[in-house]
């Protein structure tokens, strides 16, 4: 399954998904709201490093190895942000803002590294229960997300097959030539899926 989850038995892996998600949203927002000054950039990065160290990731480097991999994954965001900042606002805000944005994203990444998607899905379903009163059905929302997730795998394979077939025929990678057969096949799949859901009594 598509996931960035990193299996482990650290304490953060065992915290219930719902409260953990709220905690990370609050933390990421907190980092995002730090001021644009030298010290704040350091505080933002320090907080993210500390969070990884405290998360009990067991990578043999106090979480720093995983932290570095996460920073590397957002290297383009860092580069683009830093360049734009240096051009438009000067050195101190550029440093602070780039650190702040990087730290917020990398800190938030810790949530998906330590939490299974299925657990977050369950937490979301529970969290949406109060909205049942206004006509939102949490079970349907969860079903929708699950069905979509499994369809992504099917369509990902379909998309690769179509691109491979076109490459094999020596066609250049044209977006239009790819999109038409892909959409027709995907939407036919939607019809089949609709029939399957109907047959199973999903209303």
């Amino acid at each position: 399954m598509l996931s960035l989850y990193r299996p482990g038995s650290g304490w953060l892996n065992r915290v219930p998904a719902g409260p953990k998600m709220l905690l990370f949203i609050a933390g990421a927002l907190g980092i995002s709201l730090l001021p644009s000054q030298w010290w704040a950039g350091g505080v933002a990065l320090g907080a993210a490093v500390l969070a990884y160290a405290a998360a009990d990731l067991r990578d043999g480097a106090l979480g720093l190895q995983v932290f570095a991999a996460q920073v590397w994954a957002v290297r383009w965001v860092i580069l683009v942000t830093a360049v734009a900042q240096l051009i438009f606002v000067g050195l101190e805000p550029a440093f602070a803002n780039t650190c702040r944005i990087t730290a917020a994203i990398v800190f938030a990444g810790l949530l998906m590294l330590t939490t299974r998607v299925t657990h977050l899905l369950d937490a979301l379903e529970r969290g949406l229960r109060p909205f049942a009163r206004v006509g939102l059905r949490p079970d349907r929302v969860a079903l929708m997300l699950t069905v979509t997730l499994s369809t992504v795998t099917v369509l990902g394979r379909l998309a690769r097959d179509i691109r491979d077939a076109q490459r094999a025929r020596g066609a250049r990678s044209s977006l239009r030539a790819f999109a038409v057969p892909f959409l027709v096949a995907a939407l036919k799949h939607a019809d089949d899926l609709g029939d399957a859901l109907n047959a199973r009594g999903v209303r």
Binding site: S36, M112, D191, L197
Partner: protein
Amino acid sequence: MDHSARRQLSATDFARVAVFAAIIAALGLVGSFNIGPVPITAQTLGVMLAGIVLGPWLGALSVTVLLALVAIGVPLLSGGRGGIGVFVGPTAGYLIGWVVGALVIGLIVHAGGRKPTVLRILVGTLVGGLVVIYAFGIPVYSFVARIPLDAAFVGNLVFIPGDLIKVAVATAVSLTLLRAYPRAFGRTWTPAAKDRVTA
């Protein structure tokens, strides 16, 4: 207006919304396409097509479903991005803009319940796919990155050529789809006068 569809989704519409959310995700996973020398990702093309094919409400819903999956940590955005981090990052506004963009595209393309035309698809994707998405993306970028609004506006210019290409592709693809697989649109249109003559 399909308010009924919004309240109670039929299994067919349920499947179309889920599959379209997956289409947008898959378009981000297949990697970039080269238009001349420029590599572009196809994900916003998927957002445009969602509005065109599914219409305003279902289109916006399918984008919302995709973003909900991204929020709970599935790496479905192009480049394998996902998690709540993308919603506190500088490009968060563009993602919110996708939802409203798909809605606006659907409203324009299906205005009056008539069969989509080249003109309405072009106008819809330009307004919903560029103007609306930028209207959310630029201010949020300016707010998160703390750079002046005009600087964010200038930075946004780099997206315009690629997005214009996507408008052209979305239009061409949806016109082909209208002929090849009209069922995809899930609606019926009263034939225009000139079609009745040729039919």
